[in-house]
Subunit: 329 residues, 2 copies
């Protein structure tokens, strides 16, 4: 089952069920008015949503053409967004480029920060920022949405709380990061709103490419239609999602709708598969030639992030966004 | 006007208006079903709430006895919680105790992190944590609640978005902090759920003690009925709330209901007024005698945080919480 949100009466949007091929949707407001409302009582609500999704595939229910440009993020706002750095090979490369070594503990203790979650951008929403000089970058990630997770859960039990999987663009302002992290309190200004794919998809719908902890397909990123990379999300992911959830929940409950991000997807063989963010490409350039030549994103640039199934079909509904100057009203 | 939340049908609780003396409340669900709903359309809703608050004071509306033990946090969940460290004198002391100097920029560029906001504890809710050895501490703070704040706002305009003021206990796990901050991504496991005072109060209700940017009254903290401190929240606050809001909103919009915290209230003359957290008291002990003697909180300990008006009356409804061991269900 694939779920999306369209504009509704409130800030959570209205829940719709999307056809497997992403072309059409059926209303679901009589089952749950929003995705967050559905997640808050998932065991009760999801069988009814699944039944309607089957009816949609079979053409047995009234459906409408889906315009991704009108879609909100599947969760326009989420109770928490906790973003890990599960591809430690990427973190290692970041450090290497600044001449620092990676602490051994980074292979066993996940890095994670709390990001802004009250306004996720839809899959086609422009990324509006005031200043190009901030060093605008994409970060192509996988993310999962959980239902209510009790504090102190272990990774084994956390696995059962993964209800939906999706793609996320963790927009980053690279030139604000060094000064902000140097203050010691983590990211804030350097991490503006992130973007989500058109749909959030159930584990069952993903079949064999989802193994309960990792998603085994390449994640494709493009900038102005030129490929940035296609690392496999199931390869070199040091911490799987259940481990990230358990880390997040050590001292707090996670409310239904909490989004756990994987961090930038990256593979060791980046020479072959490329990268999921410009910062990594620039680091590789720096390590090779002493300086980065690829610039960060400029106003007018277009990014695309998508994942295809074995048949070449878009699974989640691509993220396609233009970078635009922000003009306050 | 003083507003609180009682258990309702959803996770946002139901909005009630509280009498100035905190003894009684009147329902307000016909005006706005929850505080977050009210904040999302504040200009339209607040005059109607104010009118009912006046009727409540005048005894012209049906009211009920208010039991703080049954109250939720005024905002049981908030879109964002961004916590500053506005009392730089406190940060300076922290650094001094570890033999580090304070970067000059800390006096001009606020420290701020994003905290958990999907489940604030009510004013009498126990603080349940799995392990005493984590070094459980309170942090008595002032916080404000804003309505919708556009990205890029300046401090002057931010002032007009402060709709409510309250007291906050930023629970901190001191023994988890050094290792977590050393990883460079800020707080996560070391900052569990925070607690809010019984009511959130409008600027007008506070009168002269609120100057539009700072709250000028001592903030009293007690542990097991012994005073920890009573620093004045209006003294030595390096960054006022409008400045903190502008910092938070540099690269993101803030949704209505966002909570901005002041960080631990602290005054330079801590010898006289004491502290608002155990970590500060322990630092002062370390600087004086070479070692900290006051322990962190133990299971069974009771903390109290409150602010009184000139007449000695509790303004916000005290935070009174017991530390308890967390037992997963």
């Amino acid at each position: 089952m694939k779920l999306a949100s369209l504009p509704g009466s409130g800030r959570d949007g209205r829940l719709v069920i999307v056809k497997r091929d992403l072309t059409r949707f059926v209303e679901a407001g009589d089952i749950a008015q929003s995705l967050i409302a559905a997640l808050e009582k998932w065991p009760e609500v999801s069988p009814r949503l699944e039944a309607r999704a089957e009816a949609l595939e079979a053409g047995k229910v009234k459906s409408f053409a889906l315009d991704p440009a009108l879609a909100l993020a599947p969760l326009p706002r989420a109770p928490q967004f906790l973003d890990g750095s599960a591809y430690v090979t990427h973190v290692e490369l970041v450090r290497k480029a600044r001449g620092a070594t990676l602490p051994e503990s980074f292979w066993t203790d996940p890095l994670m920060y709390q990001g802004v979650s009250d306004r996720f951008l839809g899959p086609r929403a422009p990324i509006q920022l005031a200043d190009e000089a901030w060093g605008i970058d994409l970060e192509a990630e996988i993310a999962v949405i959980v239902d209510d997770v009790p504090m102190g859960i272990d990774a084994g039990a956390a696995r059962e709380h993964i209800r939906l999987i999706l793609i996320l663009n963790d927009v980053s302002l690279r030139n604000l990061i060094p000064e902000e992290l140097a203050k010691g309190f983590g990211f804030l200004q350097s991490k503006p709103a992130s973007s989500l794919s058109l749909t959030a998809v159930t584990p069952a719908e993903l079949g064999g490419v989802w193994d309960g902890g990792r998603l085994h397909r390449p994640l494709h990123s493009h900038i102005n239609r030129r490929e940035l990379g296609h690392p496999d999300a199931g390869t070199d992911m040091t911490f799987d999602f259940p481990t990230l959830i358990a880390h997040a929940a050590k001292t707090r409950h996670l409310s239904a709708g909490t989004i756990i991000g994987s961090g930038t997807v990256a593979n060791r063989d980046h020479e072959i598969v490329g990268s999921s963010c410009l910062a990594e490409r620039r680091m590789i350039e720096t390590l090779k030639s002493g300086q980065a030549t690829t610039p960060f994103l400029k106003f007018g640039d277009e990014i695309e992030i998508l994942m295809k199934d074995e048949g070449g079909r878009d699974i989640f509904g691509a993220i396609r966004q233009k970078i635009q100057p922000y003009r306050p009203h």
